[in-house]
Amino acid sequence: MLHPQMPWYAAGPVLGLCVVACRLLLNGRLGITGGFSEVVGRLRARSLDFDWRGWLLIGLIVGAAGYALAAGGPDFHGYGWLTAALRGSDRALIAPILLVAGVLIGYGSKLAGGCTSGNGLSGTAMLSRASLAATATFFATGIAVSFITRAIA
């Protein structure tokens, strides 16, 4: 990170309060995949009439842009382990790797009915059995894939 990191004991509770605000104001479950789904679904129907989930996604982008402006630039350069491991002519592999990873993220979280926010954060707080199982599964898979890629790279 290039900028100072917010302490976890402040950042976590604010994120938790976002989940509570969604429920108290809208009786809704906060989930970013829901925002992507709303925007993609509406655009497919040639409409820009997004519901609150679409605006949640827009807010996320706006908030991050405001952060980068206030902090004087993005939080990092390069792209993590991929730009560290793939150099020279191998660099051309990064874009297709990220594209395929993105497809798995988008399709997988739609199938699972949520990602880290919808299942991991909101669903877990709702004590949903499906979300608890989903959260355990994606954490275990993400950890396993990280160790495997470290062994290969």
Partner: protein, 160 residues
């Protein structure tokens, strides 16, 4: 209108915190998934703790949602195979790109050009799902219709 503004406002708060906590950076995510840093787990656990306590309180108060007037409640989502298979697919992508949908959006906001590839993939994945399955799985807009939960109908259509 007020609902969209609420969504926008919550999204802005979420985007600032995801950025300020370093979740936008693939290096920070990877350090967590390789157990080199405890930050993400402490951050995530404290968020879940506050959200769980807050939701319990909101449900306990039996108030109506302030902007929609609906009674605040949610159906229990029964565990189905898709929750596991979907989360395995998502987890593979997460472990490779070190970004989930929230950070993919904040990378776009911060102007991280590498993230455009992941973003394009997410759009393709979501589009493919909506086109192939034609159902909404996100309970984000769940409406309480009483038992049987709406998940039953979703399950039947997903079984095709």
């Amino acid at each position: 209108m007020s609902r969209r503004l609420a969504g926008l406002g919550i999204g802005i708060a979420f985007g600032v915190v995801l950025s300020w906590s370093g979740m936008t950076s693939p290096t920070v995510i990877r350090q967590a998934l390789l157990f080199e840093s405890a930050y993400l787990f402490l951050f995530f656990a404290s968020a879940v703790a506050v959200a769980t306590a807050g939701l319990w309180l909101v449900r306990r108060l039996r108030v109506r949602a302030l902007l929609t007037g609906e009674p605040i409640r949610w159906p229990d989502q029964p565990l189905q195979r898709r929750h596991i298979t979907g989360s395995i697919l998502f987890g593979i992508g997460w472990g490779i790109a070190d970004a989930c949908p929230g950070p993919i959006a904040t990378q776009l906001g911060q102007g991280i050009t590498w993230g455009l590839w992941t973003l394009a993939g997410v759009v393709i994945g979501v589009y493919a799902f909506l086109r192939l399955r034609g159902v909404e799985t996100e309970p984000a807009t769940e409406r309480w219709t009483g038992p049987p939960a709406s998940g039953v109908a979703i399950d039947r259509r997903l079984a095709r």
